[in-house]
Amino acid sequence: MTTRFSIFASSPTPQLGPFEQQLLRELWSRGSATVREMVDGTGIRQAYTTVMTTMDRLYKKGLLDRIAEGRAFRYTPRLTSEELQRGVAMDGIRQLLGSNDTSALPLSYLVEALSAHDAQLLDELQILIERKRRELKANGTPEPAQEARSEFRGEFRGKERR
């Protein structure tokens, strides 16, 4: 686990603390907000100045846009939740592929993890198909038409399989 964290620590995607993430989630759900609206209109239990400083930090990290509204700023997220997650994932993969000393090692872990995930997914899909087949059989759905099968006549199996 330590290794994994050290790999992602130098990611070009800004690192976010829990409060920053909470503010971003609120902004994604509201679309845009001023600091006052965040303090009064949400479940955030932090001082006005804390929220203001954190939102300013998010703006400086390039995650929020802001426009002046009276004496305050109205903040808007620059990225959607999906775009941010995609960026983090892409950075992580880029880091994995770009690490110099043991580049083959993390890549092989990644391939192994993906293969295991794929195999599990395929097993689940296979089970679903079998279940559906059993349901059809139980409901008495007829087998495919003989004419359709005769297109192939079953010859290739006998000829080609050893």
Binding site: L121, Q126, I129, L136, P144, E151, R153, F156, K159, E160
Partner: protein
Amino acid sequence: MFALREIAVSLTFFVLSYCLFSALAAVSWRSLRWLHAAEQSVADLLFALRVLPLVASILITAAFVIPSFQILEPRSADEGMGTVTFTLGVVALLLIAYGSYRVTAAQVRTSRIVARWLEGASSLETGSPTATLRSRKETPPLTLIGMRAPRVLISESAVAVLGEDELRIALKHELAHIRSCDNLKKLVFRFAPFPGLSKLDSAWSQAAELAADDAAVSSVNDALDLAAALVKLSRLVPVEAAPACTVGFVTGSIRARIARLLAWDEGSQTRQRRIPKWLAIPPVTLLALCAFVTYGPALAVTHELTEWLVR
């Protein structure tokens, strides 16, 4: 100088209209999903939208820009080419060269890889109207190769794991790709690159797979056989990426395709609206008629624009 200026102006118009139409296609293709049409219609519309920038810019250049220059530009005029026109002309040439390179590279790579797959391949009698070849077990399980004379390549491993009905339905799926000329369409996409259009290409690819699934399946049993074939062949897919001018059976979102096949029923098929291709005739005719009626003024406007560009 006159001819050079004509070529530069034509290329400039071509590249400007190509970029404009491509940008429009890149932002508008998602709205096609709102149609809730049959997947074949969605795939056709996505393809039409994808090639529209290229076709429209060629048509505009050939039908308006070149004639307006030929007819309305005084041959004695001693005008320069203009920096903008020259630069955009060069950009257009680079774009055409890049498109041609992508097509050639894709064909060369495909030929090389397919030649490797075909080593030791033998004909397989399946009763299918398309030539089917059995290839070594390391090759991709089921692939459609070729454009003029398409063939289906089935690996030994695929033949071994698929049941009779599963193979029959998988071949019907590939036949649907042959009827839609999907290999050729993929090559056309490579000739017309533009930033942001790769997502449209992916959407077309997924729609083409779903359309081929729909064309292959005509009963619940067919749907289950196709889903089972997808699962079995997904386990055999090699790590190596398939070349551009081939269509692999295991392509697109397997989970989405299988979910669709498991939910298949005849009602869902009849509910899907297939947009008839003849519906394109009235707007195209209307457009041609408008162009015919306003051809003279349109040439004058085009010439004004070319003059503005050259200055």
